[in-house]
């Protein structure tokens, strides 16, 4: 099998699994649709922003939950941001973890919040890993002179 076709198949198989396993949802497809010749790195740029933003939020959340007196409004504000970004990028499992987190915030349940933060971190690092692999596959396809397969 020619190299481009092989890479494209790898890409298709990998991304299909990500959708199947709910790491990504339809919103990620929307992002890919927005990428074009005028902005060929759009998805990469948005994903990179997501990584930066998320890691900052995780640190802020950890710090907020370690305070003597936890400011739940502050915690909720960070979780809201995280839920928003993960939803906008299509990181479904992260978004769902944030939704559970929000509930514990509203209940002012510290233990629940601490557990949720662990869960959110876990899901985030999983999807980060998957997205990095995906971006790598895309680069390889483009480097080999191929086009990214259309999933829609």
């Amino acid at each position: 099998m020619e190299i481009v076709a092989k890479l494209q198949k790898q890409f298709m198989d990998f991304i299909s699994a990500l959708y199947r396993e709910r790491f990504l949802d339809d919103q990620f497809l929307q992002l890919q649709k927005l990428q074009d010749e005028s902005n060929p790195d759009f998805v990469f740029e948005v994903v990179s922003l997501f990584f930066e933003d998320s890691e900052k939020l995780i640190n802020n959340l950890a710090a907020a939950l370690q305070q003597q007196v936890v400011d739940f409004k502050q915690v909720d504000s960070h979780v809201h941001q995280f839920k928003g970004s993960s939803s906008s990028i299509g990181a479904q499992r992260v978004k769902n973890a944030c939704m559970a987190f929000k509930t514990f915030c509203e209940e002012k349940n510290i233990e629940g919040c601490v557990q949720c933060l662990q869960q959110v971190k876990h899901e985030y690092f999983l999807v980060k890993n998957k997205l990095e692999t995906l971006m790598r596959l895309e680069k390889q396809i483009l480097a080999a002179g191929g086009r990214i397969p259309d999933l829609s």
Partner: protein, 149 residues
């Protein structure tokens, strides 16, 4: 949920509408900007309500004569939940302005809360849209914008 209020800002078929997009979330800002550009709009972004008002010339210390950005903006699209000034409060300020009251304002929110939607529509919002926005949402918005002249 879709209203088409009359607008004094006319758009010829040769011009790209100028949209001011307001959102405190960096990723959402980038996304809405790209969605609008893809629908042939010129886009200015603002990270909060105060910055948006400053851009429009409605800032606390501004005199209208030094800033006519407001007259160039054909539509404002804003997130509802923002720290400080909410999208609803921004909507109210815009509708209170004699210069900007006819500029269509669209509210976006990740939460589907009927009372919130009603509140915004009653205050004169053009439309209320659920996040995350899709290309089809913006296309629909663009069509509405062209019809409201």
């Amino acid at each position: 949920m879709d209203f088409c209020s009359s607008s004094s800002s006319t758009i010829s078929s040769h011009e790209e509408p100028h949209v001011l997009a307001v959102d405190d979330n960096l990723i959402d800002r980038k996304l809405v900007e790209k969605l609008l550009k893809k629908s042939s709009c010129k886009v200015t972004t603002a990270e909060n309500g105060l910055r948006a008002l400053e851009y429009l010339g409605l800032g606390a210390d501004q005199e209208h004569s030094t800033n006519n950005n407001g007259s160039k903006v054909n539509m404002i699209i804003t997130d509802y939940c923002m720290p400080g000034m909410s999208g609803y409060e921004l909507l109210k300020k815009i509708k209170e302005s004699s210069i900007l009251k006819d500029v269509p304002v669209v509210i976006m929110s990740s939460e589907n809360i009927p009372t919130r939607i009603d509140q915004c529509m009653e205050e004169g919002a053009q439309m209320f849209m659920l996040k995350p926005l899709k290309h089809s949402d913006v296309k629909r918005l663009r069509c509405q914008l062209m019809q409201c002249q």
